[in-house]
Symmetry: C2
Subunit: 350 residues, 2 copies
DNA sequence: CTGAAAGCGCTTACAG
DNA sequence: CTGAAAGCGCTTACAG
């Protein structure tokens, strides 16, 4: 009889559950399933040798607890959601990979939720997602991470979250600040050190936190080195290619013409390239350009574009680890530092 | 008493389950929970008016069945996996969006699983993912979709799948063929109609199905129009930017120099741009270029790159719908047709 | 067409 | 430190 049920559970193992149930382990170990449960959940209330015996058995049988059964009993799933409205595909994919790396070995999986933060009812959509799936927690990617109404809803339904944003917006244990400002400072120092004095800046929409942080960092650092950009040299784009083209047309019509342009993302930098080429200006001979994001395109443009890189994968891994940490263990993420990747798009003005 | 429990279940609704349990609905409707279960699962064995009453109640209360409880009883989760090793981030993000669109309203969610198909044990990784989560099904994206060992494992563990590949590799109900060949035919006809006769082709690795399909379509279509490419004009790249640079150097050293180059992805087309510019060749004046993928970069390059676009979002939606369909309803996806997006990178040879 | 019983594989709450 | 009972919210298998 015991034999029969073992065989049965092994057959099951081959096609369904991947190593029997908690009952199989309990029977094999000669303990109650509650004790096995304690081992699974790392309760300290298990005798050392009992624990080791059970752990060996679990490995041997290849037993993995069923997340749905655990979730049903816990009233929380073993799923982490990633909520995003970021149009930068590489950003999303890198973040996913990082999050999964942070989840590795925990039995948690990542479920994705793209959304449109401009639609009125996107918060209701996220709410439904979180509540129905009883998500353990969610990772909030810019720009949804900046939406306090979203965060309020999550607090209301009791869902944990980790916010990723250009600067800290929340308590450290729920926040990953990417310090975009530091990246922009590095660009300012780089351009100044090359000898540029007549510099143009193309920003994103001012309602974006990233825009405000990057602009502030850039302008303050220039100012610290004695360079004040006149208002004519700062134009607001829309983080799109087309807006980059249009803003570059305005900047490059100035007299004297700026010798360098910093765009707050790579999309707009590509737009600057287009305008410069159309005007017969060579990069970096006549114009130096720096972007932000280090998108795949940056190294494909010709000449290749110097750009600020954020450690997106690491950010995703920290965010995931933060969500899994116990309340007590939770600590702030280490300092995230963006850095400028120098390529071929800049030189000293002539 | 009835009142009290209603209130209680509403409190719960606010923070946890989003609208009570099956028992609440059953009590309110004055039926057994089994009958409610039949309504949820669209069983025909329910009287029309009973069904309507229950459906109204479900809407009113905002009841949504707990996927973990259902999954535990069904022995299958309400999760669809997406398994990929494709380095094209935009492809992945579009596919995710499409899959989610196909899943909308079904109560299913999408869980992602990037992997490295070059590593020896990636199949074990996918197996663990599928078995532990008891996935309902998986979407297989190129190139993992081409791996018959992966598919064999999935059949062995009894997991449904939908494969996306350049050409049909499986029974129609499990396959979404993207007909890459048709896209390449269109490019051949386009270049020939512009008057190009001396054409270069940069392929991907021959072990990739997409490469074989695209190459075949292109060469056959040219042949049909009386153009036979000599072996010197066909070079094998690695689908990378760098390989595009190197292959272009070889092609552009030929005498007479080709007037057009077709690269089997956009990454390599960007490499051709770089080589052409370095040699002082202007695009499209001296050289016409066509890519494949219609990546975001295609429209950002200067001049913008003509490229073949696949309806990736739709493919994802079809794949998801296919997985949810019952065995009987399952039917082949409609014909997927890639098409050439014409931009500024080609003109007649002079 | 409808329902009472048993069970999916875990955990919590309570004893000991 | 360990376990028996009850329960998480559903479904299957069996009756009627």
């Amino acid at each position: 009889m015991t034999r029969r049920s073992r065989d049965a559970s092994n057959d099951t193992a081959a096609t369904l559950s991947g190593g029997g149930t908690i009952n199989d382990i309990a029977r094999l170990a000669g303990v109650s399933k509650k004790t096995v449960s304690r081992v699974i959940n790392r309760s300290p209330l298990v005798q050392q040798d009992t624990r080791e015996k059970i752990e060996a058995l679990i490995r041997e049988v290849g037993y993995v607890p069923d997340p749905m059964a655990r979730g049903l009993a816990f009233r929380k799933s073993f799923l982490i959601g990633m909520v995003y409205d970021n149009p930068n595909a590489q950003y999303i994919v890198n973040m996913q990979e990082g999050a999964l790396a942070g989840l590795r070995g925990s039995g948690f999986e990542l479920v994705v939720h793209p959304c449109d933060s401009k639609s009125e009812d996107y918060i209701a959509g996220v709410r439904h997602f979180v509540v129905q799936q009883r998500l353990y927690g969610v990772i909030l990617v810019p720009r949804v991470s900046e939406d306090s109404a979203l965060v309020e809803m999550l607090n209301q339904v009791g869902c944990r979250y980790a916010r990723i944003a250009a600067v800290s917006l929340d308590e450290p244990a729920r926040m990953i600040a990417t310090n975009d400002r530091l990246g922009a400072v590095e660009v300012a120092n780089y351009l100044e050190s090359l000898g540029h004095r007549n510099i143009g800046l193309i920003t994103g929409p001012q309602r974006y936190l990233s825009t405000r942080e990057r602009s502030t960092g850039f302008l303050q650092a220039l100012s610290k080195r004695g360079i004040e950009l006149p208002a004519t040299h700062i134009v607001e784009g829309g983080y799109t290619f087309e807006s980059g083209v249009a803003c570059a047309e305005r900047l490059l019509a100035l007299e004297p013409r700026p010798t360098a342009i910093f765009t707050l993302n790579d999309e707009m930098a590509a737009g600057v390239y287009k305008t410069a080429f159309k005007m017969g200006l060579s990069i970096p001979d006549h114009l130096s350009v720096v972007g932000f994001d280090d998108s795949p395109m940056a190294s494909r443009l010709w000449p290749s574009l110097s750009s600020v890189r954020l450690p997106i994968r690491d950010m995703g891994a920290f965010a995931a680890a933060m969500l899994l940490a116990n309340e007590g263990d939770a600590r702030a993420a280490p300092l995230i530092a963006p850095h400028l990747v120098v390529r071929e798009s800049c030189q000293s003005p002539r």
